[in-house]
Symmetry: none
Subunit: 242 residues, 2 copies
DNA sequence: AGAAATATGACATTGATATGACAACTTTTA
DNA sequence: TAAAAGTTGTCATATCAATGTCATATTTCT
């Protein structure tokens, strides 16, 4: 599977050799790698750069992987970031504990670089489809994340960056309702101070763009307004009881 | 983001000017403000009024922000309340310590009122408990919390926000009887002032929506009226002792 | 039957979203 | 580099859905 977007990986391991090995392999696979040999620092770095995924060694002096995981989960800004735990031995108890704590996957050493990379992609496929898919489809609407291109029936649709990001977010989880706040986080980036209502305006622009040059006016309805909650990509219009 | 619900903010700062400035700006933004110029008192007040969020100055004589934070975190009743720390210098060590101690965010002076307000809102929106399960089922009724969608036999049913919230509450604990007050709390939010009887009306609307376009009249009975107590999701029709 | 609780239709009001306009910015283009 | 074209955030206004309450009907219990 190809990667269509820069993906930031944070690897945390106290053993220099292991760290270097991981770094090398992930770089080869086109990931953008940041590393730390120390749990404390790792937490800070994570908060700072908000990586797309974190690879965490289980056994580390001072602040263990478990504790790092816990800290990351207790912090709103890092809570959503997927974590893969690495462990020396395949002790079942460890595995359960790791997943309990909120790790998304758990790999026992030794493992092949290839395996690690597949697992990373598997998780990203679930959490960030746009980073690993060449195209997201919904009906005859296609969105190419890497090319930042949207097509309706093969015809290119021009969207501003914000509109593109919003649509991309919505298409990652069809049907899922996103609050204005979530859309702001996703499409604008974290720590941006913009009115919630601004989202409405961009949704309006997006709808207009999607239905432009089309005789099927229902295209504007691809985006469902969920009163008091936010917006979602509409699922089939059929079978609605009102 | 507009604020449609009274949000209680406790601000703690020993400097009268700063305190007044904060108070003024937050009032402007429709927050309900309580303030204290002293850490000791602040802890007491917090335990007393249980604010929705606390703005805490880092540097204070006697009981510093750090210690106040620690005290609030050690107290079960105040442990969950989000805290924003204000600090004069952007010293990285401070920041880490602040977040370590359990502050939810950390702002360095000087900052614009707009920024502070945005951050408060950001935190409040994050601390709203997120939905746990992907789908709630009851008979052939399905409710998707994340999609804000309800289906009867695979057919979508449109519900207003309040009706959706009520049904969602009921389906989280099938059979459990909820008083009107409890339903108000859950579906409307805490501290809203509406008549208990209003719940009856919404239950009526919900029943109507659930049985609409269905020849099976019994659909309205999914919600059981418990005289003098409230409402509950009806369990199986069998084994009823009358 | 009589009392108490609940159900329901109607309706004014509130609340939330949609939209057009505009000024401030950015990026492209010439 | 300057003009042109495109983006963006905010506001004011328009539109439409959801809500809360009341009056009245109906049900339930004793």
């Amino acid at each position: 599977m190809e990667i269509y977007q820069t993906i930031n990986v944070l690897i945390v391991d106290d053993e220099p050799n292991q760290l270097e090995l991981l770094r090398y392999n992930l770089k080869q696979a086109n990931f953008n790698v940041t590393s730390s040999d120390n749990g404390e620092k790792a937490v800070e770095i994570a908060e700072d750069i908000l990586p797309d995924i974190i690879i965490l060694d289980w056994m580390m002096p001072f602040l263990s992987g478990v504790e790092v995981c816990r800290k990351l989960r207790s912090q709103a800004s890092t809570r959503q970031i997927p974590i893969i735990m690495l462990s020396a031995r395949g002790e079942e108890g460890d595995r359960t504990l790791g997943l309990d704590i909120g790790a998304d996957d758990y790999i026992t050493k030794p493992f092949s670089p290839k395996e690690l990379i597949s697992r990373i992609k598997a998780i990203l496929r679930r959490t960030r489809p746009s980073t690993v898919s060449e195209v997201l489809e919904h009906g005859n609407l296609k969105l190419y994340p890497g090319k930042r291109l949207v097509e309706r029936d093969g015809i290119k649709i021009n969207l501003g960056p914000k509109e593109f990001n919003i649509l991309s977010t919505l298409m990652e989880r069809p049907g899922q309702v996103f609050s204005r706040a979530q859309l702001l986080d996703n499409a604008w980036g974290h720590g941006v101070f913009v009115e919630d209502r601004t989202v409405d305006v961009h949704i309006g622009r997006l709808r207009k763009a999607l239905s432009r040059h089309s005789n099927d006016k229902s295209w504007g309805n691809v985006i469902r307004t969920v009163r008091s909650s936010g917006y979602a990509l509409a699922l089939s219009e059929n079978n609605v009881v009102s």
